[in-house]
């Protein structure tokens, strides 16, 4: 009986099943690809616009594709709240660093730590993207996102020594994640056909 009530396992299973549709992978891939492709066009800032669009599309797709197939669940929000606090902390730190960098540059030349970051920008970006993936993986309890983080780190550390342009790596990373996400999405749609009215539990003979 004790094995049957392994709550951590049930919790993990519930999260995993809700995110087995591959939509989060497709959304992540869309953002990474958008940044890469926009950098080719020398409009890297547009990546942020696509990031916002991608988040909206994710919510809409979840509502249209996932919920009618496997139902709706509202998770406890303590991990989301923890991540929001962390995100605010990181953003505040980045803003502070920006201010310090600006002040030091105004006083006399680029500070050494900023020069170091610019020289090793592939490592800085790689670590930042991998950390973001880890945050997503932790918040939504999706283990495969940690694999994306590892893949990102490997690619960007390799990229640091190969000197190819940054957008090559972003496009390659985005394409790999997109392919994986699409395979998951197709499998999910095949595995869970749209539910009938009876199975939603809203028919007259359901419940009390």
């Amino acid at each position: 009986m004790a094995e049957r009530v392994n709550l951590k396992e049930i919790e993990r299973k519930v999260y995993t099943s809700y995110h087995q549709d591959g939509l989060i992978d497709v959304s992540i891939a869309f953002i990474v690809l958008a940044f890469g492709l926009m950098m080719v066009l020398d409009m890297g800032w547009m990546g942020w616009v696509f990031a916002v669009v991608s988040i909206s599309l994710y919510a809409a797709a979840k509502k249209t594709l996932t919920v009618p197939r496997i139902g709706f669940v509202r998770f406890a929000t303590y991990r989301v709240k923890a991540m929001q606090t962390l995100a605010i902390g990181v953003l505040s730190l980045l803003m502070l660093l920006g201010v310090v960098a600006f002040m030091q540059t105004e006083e006399g030349g680029t500070p050494p730590w900023l020069l170091f970051a610019i020289e090793n920008y592939m490592l800085v970006i790689g670590v930042s993207v991998a950390a973001s993936f880890c945050a997503v993986g932790y918040t939504f309890r999706i283990r495969r996102v940690y694999a994306y983080a590892l893949l990102t780190l490997t690619m960007f550390v390799t990229g640091h020594f190969l000197y190819y342009p940054l957008h090559y790596y972003l496009i390659l990373l985005g394409t790999l994640i997109l392919l994986f996400g699409l395979v998951m999405l197709i499998r999910f749609i095949r595995r869970y056909p749209l539910s009938t009215t009876e199975s939603t539990g809203d028919s007259d003979n359901e419940g009390k």
């Binding site: 009986m1 004790a2 049957r4 009530v5 709550l7 049930i10 919790e11 299973k13 519930v14 099943s17 496997i70 139902g71 709706f72 669940v73 509202r74 998770f75 406890a76 929000t77 869970y192 539910s195 009876e198 199975s199 939603t200 539990g201 809203d202 028919s203 003979n205 359901e206 419940g207 009390k208």
Partner: protein, 109 residues
Amino acid sequence: MKENEERDDELPSIPKLDKTIHEPARLMIMAHLFVVESADFLFLQRQTRMTPGNLSAHISKLEDAGYVEITKEFIERKPHTALALTQKGRDAFKQYRRDIKQIAERLPE
């Protein structure tokens, strides 16, 4: 005789299990609802792999016991049944876990 008396003395110390929760199907429903804030009927059905009728019957029993709260609402003009554990249900489930653990600890290896 003396042995029987000793056994009787031990009996009351074994916790009584909540039979509403102890039934395997209801235990699964309670466990799934315990780890989320709320879930709809379809989600529970997919997770527990029960038939709609079976799931419905067990949910009714849990609702009668005051462990589960059923909210029927319309989301974008579609009927939606949300299920959540009540505070009483959460407490009962925690107590059940404590009891079952206690019993398991007392069992011989």
